[in-house]
Symmetry: D2
Subunit: 260 residues, 4 copies
């Protein structure tokens, strides 16, 4: 059977990334002792040499399928990429694994326990002979209350749900705790959000937000300050977005930094 992918190519263009996207597989993701089964959405690509016509896409989904039984920790992403370098005879591989991950969330007064979900993404790139370049993306919700609205109004202040999206690059991947960064970020808004709030809790959250008004720029700067204190970070980018209750559009702020 002819191997059309292996035909020579004369256009002289090395492709940096070719492979599969929109793959859905049931992965077990491990964050420390917390292991959850997730419906991962995956992009998995390799470099294609300039003299080859096509890559072997089916090998990529085979490699991914082989990882559905055993929990995946962040350092395991490098093993998946090494597998790709080997099985696809290439010198570069990249992967994105996106999933929802749940963390326990306890209401502030009545101590009701439930779970809140965070959008996570593992992003890994590996060049043959090097170390994996890895980033963790998180999208974390919280509440914001507008300082201007509070200051100028005789009563009340507009507030709304907000989200902070961070992309974190680490020096050392062995002990990265996803939960630690979720907790760090959700603390930078005017107040946290919760799945269960009894009345005493709702009073607490409402008053907490009122006493802690923050513009989207305030939240961004506080996230930046908090991330700068993390010794294991090599670089980060941050985007904050407030789904303004007084508009049908959003307020936004973004920043990125490479740490020495």
């Amino acid at each position: 059977m002819t191997d059309v992918q292996n035909q020579p190519d004369t256009r002289g263009i090395k492709i940096k990334r070719t492979g599969v996207t929109g793959v859905r597989l049931p992965f077990f993701i491990s964050d420390g002792a917390n292991v959850q089964q997730v419906a991962a959405q995956i992009r998995f690509t390799v470099a294609l040499a300039e003299n080859l016509r096509g890559t072997h896409m089916s090998r990529l989904t085979e490699i991914l399928t082989s990882r559905t039984k055993i929990p995946i920790k962040i350092p395991d992403v490098e093993k998946i990429l090494l597998d790709a370098l080997k099985k696809l005879s290439t010198d570069e591989a990249a992967i994105s694994i996106a999933f929802k991950y749940f963390f326990e969330k306890i209401s502030p007064v009545t101590q009701k326990v439930s779970f809140s979900s965070v959008d996570c993404e593992f992003i890994g790139e590996l060049v043959r002979g090097g170390r994996m370049n890895f980033s963790l993306s998180l999208s974390v919700p919280f509440m914001s209350l507008c300082p201007c609205s509070k200051e100028i109004s005789d009563f009340g202040a507009h507030n709304q749900r907000s989200v902070c999206r961070v992309k974190l690059t680490f020096k050392n991947l062995d002990d990265v705790s996803i939960e630690k960064f979720v907790r760090l970020i959700e603390s930078q808004g005017s107040a946290q959000v919760f799945p269960i709030l009894k009345r005493e809790d709702e009073k607490f959250v409402t008053e907490a937000a009122w006493q802690n008004p923050k513009f989207v720029e305030d939240i961004l700067r506080d996230v930046v300050l908090a991330l700068r204190r993390e010794k294991n970070l090599a670089a980060f980018s941050v985007e904050c977005e407030n789904f303004e209750s007084i508009h049908n559009h959003n307020a936004f702020a973004a920043h990125e930094e490479i740490l020495s």
Copy 2:
């Protein structure tokens, strides 16, 4: 050239709706004197007799294309459906035309003029020999402020962006004003939302919401009362959703009614 669609079918199943979905065309939509060009997303289907294998999909996009030059008013939807009955030799046709439509929005104190968009959908069904059954769907944003949070808290009250989705069925299609119903619905929240708010306006909106706290159930009931007063309505359904600032989920209420 063989006409495979016209082959006989022996499975004995009349299909109520077959046609095209996800069609995008540049329509001009007229709401009274207001005419806007929109990127309409269209579903257009016809019934298929039990003895025929397939319908003629291309005739549907031809009919739609023929309507791209002249403004479409609501009563014109019946002409599109009649065209389908004729050109596809069928006894039933249905269409959904979804688009964003802009309305002028003036800030409450400084009178700054801008535009806010509303998601609209024309839904028409026609059986040969009958009159078109037509519904207008609207998705209208506003602000809500929680009465419970206001009552129990020593200061502040959580508030958030909300949306009300209505589906309206009319007795008479000749004088339906989309804008009238948008204005009616956006007035039922705790406060309206605006594209431009200077500080004086922000103070006004913040205080207006504070003085008019409403649960999602309150908003739903007030929309119901407002719609019951509309003499030209034959039926309606309403969904209200508050994007709760204190949760990462939403509060919801729904109701439907057939008017005598």
Copy 3:
């Protein structure tokens, strides 16, 4: 602390559905012996009597959270709804639980094992004193190849990914197998789709589709015939959509039926 929700309401409108939407929780879903952890997206509502101002939203998320530890089978949905009737002192409750569920998928020639995901939704409604009204929605992908294109062309035939969405209502909920219906529906296209296909498999699938050309109307009718043979079904609706490779829009067909 004042219970504002419990305030009397004089507008005289009973609300059929009010509650929470967009809730995300980690549920374990059981389909026979197959148990998977999913990131469920949930809408959970109750009726609100005309003399009450608001419902108790937090009790709904408490009920849902109490179900995160033990696998949920279809009949368990009724227990969740009964819990809502009791804890919210109401006479009607409804729930939608949407999630991705994975099924093993083996390539047709080389027998490579992987997993494919299906969008599932449990929809339950319960009126006090009655039995739960339950529907299962499934969205199942496959491949379609156009009979007209094959017939009129000297070589080739356009083909594409397709999806079939069904909503199934059952007589008896004790032995419903989700997988059985997924297998039934994915067999009605021109060919099935697979996560891993080696070259021998790709040849098999390509030729299988070529030998089994089907219009969207053909697929719809074949799904209808297959569902009519299921003794446990009380009613069903079907929508088929082909993401036409020759257009930037889709071909569509829909049908619904109540079985005696």
Copy 4:
């Protein structure tokens, strides 16, 4: 009335981008003589000096609203950014304007005229004293047919809808034709897609794709070769994605290049 935004900030962080996102306005977009009204989705940001607490968001929507009457050509984007530098007293501004744009599309044999839509995005950045950095993003659909499937199968070949997303940076903005690049890109697949295809046209397109099989890597390389010939390009990135008819996931290839 206190100007809280103008309060001093001591955290020492200059913010590169803060402003509004998700703004929807009715813009008229001009591509040569072709002027269309679109429902633009806009992100509009400015830099915020490290000593200032917040930016003036309402001035951004005011600037945008002032552009709703007169057609916007690509060079006009710089005027919008200059307006922001001035009215917000800042040294950097950025904008993204995303919209659907329609182009005439004529069926290949019967010459039936209709319209196809392309997702466009204008992306501009301006630093005080410099020239605007501008990119045009386009997302263009077409059809692809798999060379491997064709070669190994006794009959047929899988094919599917594909999309190519390009981001183009220009040397000179005065004469950029959006349509020219749409035409260039849609010609690089196995065949083009059309809104209306009569049977003679469908035969033509089916056979054209059959005679022009291309992997996603082939399409990517052909787009790269075509873009390299464009003298006015300073840089480009390309992503191609095939919505594989034999899988429920996609094939993907990406490349980027800075031209001398």
